[in-house]
């Protein structure tokens, strides 16, 4: 019963707030207990679980005993149990249980059992149900008696499916809850496909579908498997890593095309890019073997919260900015149009040089990894070990008037001070307010310093030779 209905029926009732975590915990336990009884248990919806008990009556004596056993193992949940040939009728039977009878076994045919049920239990769109009610068809039985061709014309495929259920024809197969997460798409050709472009056209469709599945779950594929059934030949199966984790159909397609082309060119010297002469393709399956989370990591890196500040000194948006600043006196400026991936390439190429200078010992743990792919950087970012920009050092001036700056123990006269350039960000947990200055020092050395307006302290951001 919906909470709203309950409140209407019992306005004086005290209703406890829902606890989804606790609910999931108990749901997992229920599924676990049921999987001890049958190997096929389907997590149907929030309050319903379906299981296949075919043959268990032999083990327990009869169906009632099976139900009693289930009732016993889930005693604390007081389950309502319905048994029928089809899952739709079984579910309906369980809804019909009324205390103290917790078990309802359908002894007649499913069709007979469902005959008097209200039409709204059928899987029909609500407008269709409304229309049927207006026509005076209020029970499943009345719906079952309507001619199938009339149903088909008026209510389409959904109407026909519901009509079959109403007639007790329920061939649904249960999907076990504990089956592994699989992203797999297959296409079988009615006639063997000999045209290479035709094959690729269909692979594109598979890739699109996998892209949709991955993106709907915020996942990226790391490793993909392709299986191709070829006429007059053994199946060709290959697993390969993508150049970088991706959820893009184009990436899968490029790699698959490359592998397929290589496979067919290898097998036949006569193979052109258009036609496969030594046997057409009967079936292609594309499946993802290794997944990594997508959005979660990016959010970690891109969000502008304290965590990222601690670990990356700034958000990615500003990381690029900082890299720009960094590069001014270290390497070179990033082009304006740099994207996230490009930025990491620059970091990657920059690290060995940075390592040589070896001025920041605390960075070595990161630098010894050498060149990293974007995926690795992202993965490490999530782990919290990435520190790309160093925390700045406090600036040491020789005297009160700040005419000399000391760098690595060496005194430099300040020839020119350019600035300030003020940055204030009140939105961070620790608000930032800084005045940046560019100092030109004796000996042709340049320095970027900032004065922290909050802490009242000078820092050196970097040195330019």
């Amino acid at each position: 019963m919906r909470l709203r209905d309950a409140q209407l029926k019992c306005p004086e009732g005290v209703f406890i707030e829902e606890d989804p975590d606790l609910y999931s915990e108990h749901k997992a336990e229920v599924l676990h207990q049921l999987s001890m009884v049958s190997s096929i248990v389907e997590d149907n919806d929030i309050e319903t679980t379906l299981m296949d008990i075919t043959g268990l009556d032999g083990l327990y004596g009869n169906v009632l005993n099976v139900c009693t056993h289930i009732s016993g193992v889930l005693a604390k949940y007081h389950p309502y149990i319905g048994v029928a040939k089809g899952s739709f009728a079984a579910k309906t039977a369980s809804y019909n249980c009324k205390p103290p009878n917790w078990i309802e076994i359908v002894n007649c045919s499913d069709c007979e059992y469902l005959f008097t049920e209200h039409i709204s239990i059928l899987p029909l769109p609500s407008q269709v149900v409304q229309q049927l009610i207006l026509l005076g068809i209020t029970t499943v039985g009345e719906y079952a008696l309507l001619p199938i061709n009339s149903i088909s014309v008026r209510y389409g495929a959904e109407g026909v499916i519901a009509h079959r259920l109403a007639q007790g024809i329920d061939s649904g197969v249960l999907s076990p809850f504990n089956s592994p997460l699989v992203f797999s798409e297959t296409i079988a050709f009615e006639w063997c496909q000999n045209n290479f472009d035709g094959v690729i056209f269909h692979v594109q469709k598979l890739a699109n579908r996998i892209e949709f599945q991955l993106q709907s779950q915020d996942l990226m594929a790391q490793r993909v498997c392709m299986r191709v059934d070829i006429d007059f030949d053994s199946p060709y199966e290959i697993s390969f890593d993508l150049p970088e984790p991706s959820s893009q159909a184009r990436t899968f397609l490029d790699v698959v095309r490359w592998h397929l082309k290589a496979r067919f060119e290898r097998s036949s010297s006569e193979c052109t890019s258009e036609y496969l002469t030594d046997g057409g393709v009967r079936e292609i399956r594309l499946s993802v073997e290794e997944l990594i989370p997508f959005e979660g990591l990016r959010v970690e890196m891109l969000s502008n919260d304290q965590y990222c500040l601690q670990n990356a000194n700034q958000s990615i948006g500003k990381l690029r900015l900082h890299l720009g600043d960094d590069a001014v006196f270290r390497t070179k400026a990033l082009p304006e149009e740099s994207r996230l991936e490009n930025a990491f390439e620059y970091i990657d190429s920059y690290f060995p040089e940075y390592d040589k200078q070896n001025k920041r010992k605390e960075k070595e743990s990161l630098l010894i990894e050498g060149r990293m792919s974007t995926a690795e950087v992202l993965t490490r970012g999530a782990g919290g070990i990435l520190r790309i920009i160093d925390p700045p050092d406090k600036a040491v001036f020789q005297e009160e008037k700040k005419q000399h700056l000391v760098i690595d123990g060496e005194k430099h006269e300040i020839l020119q001070k350019i600035g300030p350039h003020r940055i204030e960000n009140p939105w961070l947990e620790n608000p930032v307010a800084r005045d940046y200055f560019r100092f030109i020092l004796s000996g042709g050395v340049g320095a970027l310093l900032y004065y922290d307006l909050v802490l009242d302290v000078w820092y050196i951001q970097g040195i330019v030779d």
Partner: protein, 1046 residues
């Protein structure tokens, strides 16, 4: 010294973070010589800003930052009147033919309108600073020269800004270099976006709202620091110490600018067409006397004196053209058979009556002319026209076409952030989840923000939510975008776009000026309000219907307003559908107040309204009318003013007169008080006048406590200012609509049904009421019905197709052709009408095809399978071969269900009649029985007692059930909820106390029909049930959703 010449207020929508008033006040505080307002692409805040700056002693400069090609900004300041005209033109052109909120002007177009303008090179978004940053010197010089050429000599300056951003110094140095090269003067500005640094966070949030972004992801959309505030001369001197001439030039420019919005604008009403040999005044005079001769049987000295006084005022103030213009509009309406009347103070004028503008005769109604026009007013009178709501757009378009689209525009309505919209937008900008925003919004809805949100543990412990609450509080009242005023129009003798910028409105074929009604009034623009009123449509339709059916022509002029039958009906609170007195509050009051004459109606509609009810003054008036409370005038000198309303101030005129008599206010000051009362910011303004009022009363020997009482009455009145003339004009419609309901109920119902949506009740309730009055209402029939409802020859009302779900105005032509009425099958009907399947299904469900001998279910079944193809051969042919399916005839309950599903009303089922047997078994009585019991019980069977204020009341335990037709939870009612229930015998009001509301809130808010156990109370003929227990009644069909009112 320094003058800020580049400042954005919050009228740079979703960019500026301070109001014009805050900006002006701060400018005065920091010692600026002058301040220039330069909002984006418009003069939206110019009037408020000018007034505020003048009040603070700072010189206001009117300007604008215009968006040119390539998103280049340029700052423009009005040097003189011509410059101001050009600013208006430029803004108008920039908005013309552009998508809303994306104004843009080509540089070449700008060149046409730079006379009288001073140009500054703009912020970092300006073409020149952008070119300087690119360090393309040759290009920069070309751009600078192009700009210099289009402005008058010495009127273009290079604008230096230093917000301590990384490239500011580079830009400034580049501009200084260019200035030397091309010999141009420099000027320093600060591109101000808020008056104080603390507003920076608010500005960031506004930017995020504008760009639909979130603070954490906004990046470079946000400004990098807090330097865009209104800086003092000293701070600007520090920033530009190397270039003192840039600061000096700010003062030079301020001196060059010699235009203030306070001056009368070049505005005049369009001249009316006047016969040769007359001028506007003489023609008006002639028309007035002609009108008076026609309308009055004998002209006495009072009438002629009043005419002479009003005419002399019109001549002194050159208002003849205004009256003639309004007369022309009214004449157009009358020629087009559109019913029109005035509201507001205009019915107090005999001129309006004589010219046919108003239907109210002011002398016998005792209406004051001074409220409409007086020497002390200082601004022109306001004539508001009420027009049939379904034909108002026709009148508006006539005005556009008649006076020219460049000379007429609607007044704007500045849509500002309210509590809930503020928290919603701020929450989104701060990245708060939709759930949390919903929660906060809900809390705001339920209780006062200050108390609830701060006390909420969840909000208190979360800094982001805290931020959201505090910023949303600051943002409340900020303009968000421009809407259209409900009916205000400005008409001008010269192109209006030289007086005020105009922009296209979102509504097709409409344009809107950039100022709201108060701004327009402040600069002397005369607004003519064209307001749509549903009841005008009803009355006109009913009059037409009566003439068609009985050949009897009814006109307003023929009413004498004294029919006892009408007043008897009103006293019995039998007023569903009657203008203004049909609400729950009115219905519960009418039996107590027992209106017996026209003036009673005037008072009734003025006092039973949300405003007066907040102050509880209505109770005093009712008690005094019933003779249970002594009439107290607070001061004997106020008796002549308050006598007619039993000592209770109800009308604006009374408050004006009270202040004049008690405190010796002049008419002008009293009018100032009146205007303060009627404006949104009235309470604040009234408090400013408080001291004067109190002192005046003290001088006149009124004791402190009495003075406080008088002030309390006036202050409390501020929320609901209402001129007596307005009430009088409305009372006329009350009487006429009541008269129609009494004498021509079928025509009245038909007119009401054809004028929906309007009024307090849904059509189902209106039909029920008519049926209880013996009117037969028939359902839709394919052979008979038209698009609209009609009264048939035998007096029954036939529903029109417009009530079928899915049928709209676009189907009118189809149904008015009527060729389909000859069809003998559904297929033929479809062939004739080509309606969609959904409409056909709704028609079948409503029983429209019953006349073909096809019952509803068979028709529906047939339509579900019809092949609605374009191919004529195939059209209507049922797909495939089908076995016959027969359906049971629907029961009455099922038929009702089908009616509600297809029309949201039923003519065959009323209230709870289908459940009456079960209800009877439970001891639930009908409303009719309830009223009988109530009549008998008072002083007999019931528990009779005296209430605290001495009222005689009776109480009795009852059970009643019905469909909820309205729910009210007024803020002033301290948590009480008022329900109106309908059963098959009538309506009953139910009062639910807060503790009961809390317990049964779900039932009250979610259920369509309920059973109430409670006490029946009879308070001097006004009966209601005080609920103690509420339970839902599960019906097998859905009643129309009740209307919820605050």
């Amino acid at each position: 010294m320094y003058a800020e010449l580049h400042a954005h207020t919050n009228f740079s929508f979703l960019d500026g973070a301070s109001s014009p008033e805050q900006m002006a006040l701060t400018a005065a505080e920091v010692g600026l010589a002058a301040i220039g307002i330069t909002d984006h692409d418009g003069l939206y805040g110019a009037v408020r800003f000018s007034i505020a700056a003048r009040n603070c002693g700072v010189k206001p400069i009117i300007g604008m930052e215009i968006n040119l090609d390539n998103d280049d900004h340029l700052t423009l300041l009005a040097k003189d009147r011509q410059g101001y005209r050009n600013l208006c033109r430029i803004s108008t052109e920039a908005h013309k033919r552009q998508p809303k909120a994306e104004p843009y002007l080509r540089f070449e177009s700008l060149a046409k309108w730079t006379q009288g303008l001073i140009g500054l090179s703009g912020c970092r978004q300006g073409a020149i600073p952008k070119a300087v940053l690119k360090q393309d010197k040759r290009n920069v010089v070309e751009i600078v020269q192009a700009h210099t050429e289009i402005f008058d000599k010495g009127c273009f300056f290079l604008e230096l800004q230093n917000h301590l951003q990384e490239d500011d110094l580079l830009t400034c140095n580049g501009l200084i270099e260019i200035a030397k090269h091309v010999d141009l003067p420099l000027v320093a500005t600060n591109n101000v976006h808020y008056h104080t640094q603390s507003r920076r966070r608010l500005q960031d949030v506004l930017v995020c709202i504008k760009n639909s972004s979130v603070i954490n992801h906004a990046g470079r959309l946000l400004r990098p620091n807090n330097e865009y505030y209104l800086k003092s001369p000293e701070k600007m001197e520090n920033l530009f110490c190397d270039i003192p001439e840039a600061l000096e030039n700010t003062l030079n420019i301020a001196n060059m600018c010699d235009f203030e919005l306070a001056q009368p604008l070049d505005y005049g009403l369009p001249g009316a067409s006047v016969p040769i040999g007359n001028n506007e005044y003489t023609y008006l005079e002639k028309l007035t006397w002609e009108g008076v001769q026609t309308l009055y049987s004998g002209i006495n000295s009072e009438i002629s004196g009043r005419v002479v006084t009003e005419l002399s005022y019109v001549r002194e103030n050159c208002l003849a053209g205004y009256f003639l213009t309004v007369r022309e509009i009214v004449k157009y309406c009358k020629d087009q058979d559109i019913l029109v009347n005035t509201r507001g103070s205009a019915p107090g004028s005999i001129l309006c009556y004589a010219l046919g503008i108003s239907m109210v005769e002011p002398i016998s109604a005792g209406l004051l002319f001074e409220r409409f026009m007086s020497k002390g007013r200082g601004n022109p009178p306001d004539i508001d026209l009420d027009i049939e709501h379904q034909k108002r757009e026709r009148v508006i378009q006539h005005i556009y076409n008649y006076y020219g689209r460049d000379r007429a525009a609607m007044v704007a309505n500045v849509i500002s952030f309210q509590k809930r919209s503020a928290i919603r937008d701020v929450g989104k900008a701060l990245g708060i989840s939709a759930d949390q925003i919903g929660l906060m919004s809900q809390l705001m809805k339920q209780q006062d923000e200050g108390v609830t949100l701060k006390d909420n543990e969840c909000i208190r412990s979360n800094s982001i939510l805290n931020n959201a609450v505090s910023i949303s509080r600051d943002i409340q009242g900020f303009p968000r975008h421009l809407g259209i005023h409900s009916g205000g129009m400005i008409i001008s003798s010269r192109p209006l776009c030289e007086v005020v910028p105009i922009e296209p409105a979102r509504m097709l074929d409409r344009t809107v000026v950039q100022w709201d009604k108060d701004d327009c009034a402040d600069v002397g623009l005369i607004k003519i309000d064209l307001l749509g009123l549903g009841m005008m449509t009803v009355i006109r339709r009913a009059f037409c219907s009566i003439q068609e059916r009985y050949g009897e022509r009814i006109e307003f002029e023929g009413f004498t307003f004294d029919d006892p039958n009408v007043y008897k009906m009103i006293t019995a609170a039998d007023t569903l559908g009657v203008f203004q007195i049909e609400s729950r509050a009115q219905i519960s009051t009418l039996p107590k107040t027992r209106p017996a004459c026209f003036y009673d109606l005037i008072v009734e509609i003025a006092i039973i309204r949300p405003g007066p009810m907040t102050t509880k003054l209505h109770r005093s008036w009712i008690e005094r009318r019933l003779g249970r409370e002594k009439i107290d005038y607070l001061d004997p000198r106020l008796k002549p003013v308050l006598e007619r309303t039993l000592g209770v101030p109800i009308f604006q005129e009374q408050c004006m007169q009270m202040s004049m008599i008690a405190a010796g206010f002049s008419a002008a000051k009293a009018d100032e008080l009146r205007r303060a009362m009627s404006r949104k910011r009235s309470l604040h303004n009234i408090q400013i006048l408080r001291n004067d009022l109190m002192e005046g009363m003290k001088r006149n020997g009124i004791s402190n406590s009495r003075a406080r009482d008088i002030y309390g009455q006036i202050e409390g009145y501020a929320g609901y200012g209402f001129p007596e003339a307005h009430s009088c004009s409305f009372a006329l419609l009350v009487y006429v609509s009541a008269w129609l309901k009494y004498y021509y109920p079928a025509e009245f119902l038909c007119a009401l049904l054809n004028s929906q949506p309007m009024g307090f009740y849904k059509p189902h309730t209106l039909i029920g009421d008519a049926q209880r009055h013996g009117i037969e209402v028939r359902s839709i029939d394919m052979k008979v019905s038209s698009f609209e409802c009609v009264v048939e020859a035998d007096g029954a009302v036939r529903l029109g197709y417009c009530y079928i779900e899915g049928v709209g105005e676009s189907h009118r032509d189809i149904f008015d052709r009527k060729g389909y009425q000859a069809c003998e099958s559904i297929d033929q009907f479809y062939y004739q009408t080509k309606l969609s399947r959904n409409v056909l299904k709704a028609l079948a469900t409503a029983g429209a095809f019953d006349c073909l001998g096809i019952d509803r279910r068979s028709a529906l079944w047939q339509i579900q399978a019809m092949n609605l193809q374009d191919n004529i051969e195939m059209r209507g042919v049922i797909q495939g071969s089908e076995e016959d399916v027969s359906f049971q005839r629907p029961t009455r309950m099922q038929q009702a269900k089908m009616d509600f599903a297809s029309m949201d009303l039923s003519v065959s089922v009323r209230g709870m009649d289908l459940y009456r047997r079960q209800l009877n078994e439970r001891g639930v009585i009908t409303v009719q029985v309830l009223k009988q019991i109530s009549g008998n019980s008072q002083g007999q069977n019931g528990d009779v007692f005296l209430s605290k204020n001495g009222n005689i009341r009776s109480r009795q335990e009852v059970k009643v059930a019905g469909v909820i037709i309205s729910r009210q939870r007024p803020k002033s009612a301290n948590g009480y909820v008022f329900l109106t229930l309908e059963d098959e015998t009538g309506l009953i009001n139910v009062i639910v106390k807060p503790n009961i509301v809390e317990r049964y809130i779900r039932c009250i808010t979610d259920e369509a029909s309920v059973e109430i156990h409670g006490e029946l109370e009879n308070d001097n003929g006004s009966i209601h049930v005080l609920a103690q227990h509420i339970s839902a009644i599960q019906t097998k069909f859905e009643y129309p959703q009740p209307r919820n009112w605050c």
